[in-house]
């Protein structure tokens, strides 16, 4: 009366057999490689060329009566061991002001974009940014406290390092540490507890910052300027200060990119594939937060970089973190160098860098989103 297997099932069996009997040895393994999202030499070359080009522009253009072609000649002379066309003071502008500023912008951009990519991976949320766990609020609170409570004349310092970067660095780590501790203590599995802890810590630290700020309204302008971000550096000190943290974080994040891809499957499936999601999150968030803290300490709060750059990379180069992380590092560096170039040249004074990153970044981002609509859906 009832046939146990329909003709459809028989057809299915035949299709299955045909599929397995197809000669698999004839397919070169390179075909699978072609369908994986990997960092192609072309993508790296393009990113590096853009980065070097932008950095060169950042060196050539700037305040002072220094023509771009003379700077270019100076750079070439230094590279080839030729005779410098510049006076000593002009050379100092190039090598002691512009060069470290460009490098610092690159480090800050790489840190924020790399950390943003990492946060988006860990939280599986495209809106996650490096300040999500309280790094920005913590740094802001500590920086404000220094501006309000530490008179400039008695400013303590460690060697060449002023109190502001140190306080901001410590404050950023404090914010993330509080969030991590609070998120852990709620005992929830996954990232929801951590995310909510970040929201709570950010709100609390911002409240503290506002309170401290009100104690001395004379510093209001200074605090305000700091929170808008900027690279007002004195020389190489800041570069050497930030480099180890950003370098270490970049290495960790690039190495962990494959594990970030695994996290996109969620904790249960990632666990079933033999990794420990909690441990990956700890390592990645620690590295990303260290980079963020280092960036914040020298640049204040620069928004938008951590979100816009990883998303641009995602749209243009693919959805695997093996591509997103390294290209975000390079792209973030180029983006902030360019933004800083605009910030210091567009007006007689200097625009806050955070304003430029949002002002220039948001429309560009919107444009890319529009032109890639079909890729998003």
């Amino acid at each position: 009366m009832l046939r146990p297997r329909s003709r459809r099932a028989t057809a299915a069996t035949q299709r299955a057999t045909a599929a397995t009997q197809r000669d698999t040895a004839a397919e070169p393994p390179s075909r699978a490689a072609a369908n994986t999202t990997r960092l192609t030499p072309l993508a790296v070359v393009v990113a590096v060329v853009v980065l070097v080009g932008v950095a060169l522009l950042g060196m050539l253009i700037g305040p002072g009566e220094l023509a771009g072609n003379r700077v270019l000649a100076e750079i070439l002379a230094q590279l080839t061991g030729g005779v410098s066309p510049l006076s000593e003071s002009e050379a100092a502008v190039v090598w002691q002001l512009r060069m470290p500023r460009v490098l610092l912008a690159a480090l800050v951009g790489a840190a924020l974009a790399g950390a943003g990519a990492a946060f988006q991976g860990v939280f599986r949320n495209p809106l996650a940014d490096p300040y999500l766990l309280g790094a920005g609020a913590g740094a802001g609170m500590a920086a404000t406290a220094v501006m309000v409570f530490v008179p400039a004349v008695t400013a303590w310092s460690f060697g060449p390092v002023g109190p502001l970067p140190l306080a901001a660095f410590a404050g950023a780590l404090l914010g993330v540490g509080l969030s991590w501790g609070l998120g852990r203590s709620t005992g929830g599995a996954g990232t929801a507890g951590l995310l909510l802890a970040g929201v709570a810590v950010t709100a609390f630290l911002t409240a503290v910052q506002t309170f401290v700020q009100q104690l001395n309204t004379e510093t209001l302008k200074q605090v305000y300027t700091w929170t808008l971000g900027g690279l007002n550096i004195t020389g190489w000190t800041d570069v050497w200060l930030v480099l180890p943290y950003v370098g270490l974080a970049a290495l960790v994040l690039v190495a962990a990119a494959r594990l970030l891809d695994l996290l996109t499957l969620g904790d249960a499936e990632a666990s079933s594939l033999g990794v420990r999601p909690g441990r990956i999150r700890l390592v990645v968030l620690a590295a990303a937060s260290l980079a963020t803290a280092a960036a914040v300490s020298v640049s204040g709060l620069i928004g938008f970089v951590g979100i816009v750059v990883p998303h641009l990379v995602r749209l243009l180069a693919g959805a695997s973190y093996r591509v997103i992380v390294p290209l975000s590092l390079l792209g973030g560096a180029a983006f902030v160098i360019a933004a800083d170039l605009v910030a210091r040249t567009i007006m007689p004074g200097e625009l806050p860098l955070g304003v430029v990153t949002a002002f220039a970044g948001a429309p560009f981002f919107a444009l890319v989103l529009r032109t890639n609509r079909e890729r998003l859906s």
């Binding site: 459809r8 299915a12 397995t20 499936e269 033999g274 990794v275 959805a319 695997s320």
Partner: protein, 267 residues
Amino acid sequence: MTGAATTTALSLHEVSAGYGAEPVVRHVSLEARRGRWLAIVGPNGAGKSTVLKAVAGLVPRQGTVLLDGTDTGDLSRKELARRVGYAPQNPALPERLTVTDYVLLGRAPHLGALARESASDLSIVEDALTRLDLAGLAGRRLGTLSGGEAQRAVLARVLVQRTPLLLLDEPTTGLDIGHAQTLLERLDQLRREDDTTVVTTLHDLTVAAQYADELVLIDRGGVVAAGPPSRVLTTERLREHYAADVEVLTTADGHPVVVPVRTAGAR
């Protein structure tokens, strides 16, 4: 024990599992023989999925789980992932990942923390894609796949783990009867070719009876019956544990068929 170990791929002894004070699964004991298909059936909320998660080490559990005689408590997470492949009922399918990228994630248990996939990992992936008829879709993004293609991609991801045991939680979720059959036939074929032990949960009892060598009926976290489908699926038992009006018929070749019956006056 040593005699049994040669044929028993998986055995659970007095396993209780679940989050919170009240375990979802209580004192479950069952066995799956090597190369066979075991289907766990039971009403909604009975604890079918939790049994699979307990084996995969994804829920807190008590009791003993043996894989080929080895206590899974003695295995690291990575060692376990080389022996047990697991696909949940609703797997995450990051929509912008390519099929190849996604399937390649299944090689994770065979890679060191910082290692990159080798050419052999890629050829294992390619082999799995071909076996599951996905070779033509290798470069497609997951978000563009149909339900049947997505389920095959998940199966491919589990397959490249190259584990002797596959745990699949409702592998035909969301598939129509034809696509469900195609998938189960494919799975059955893989099982026979690779001598893999398959444990699935299946909500369709007739289908379960056609594909599985053995059924385990679970209700309220405990085993109610276990054995060949024709012995487990009886009208009385299903009426009792599913609270359903059903009739169990038998095909000419002895497969039980579960048919819902609408009694007069039900309206």
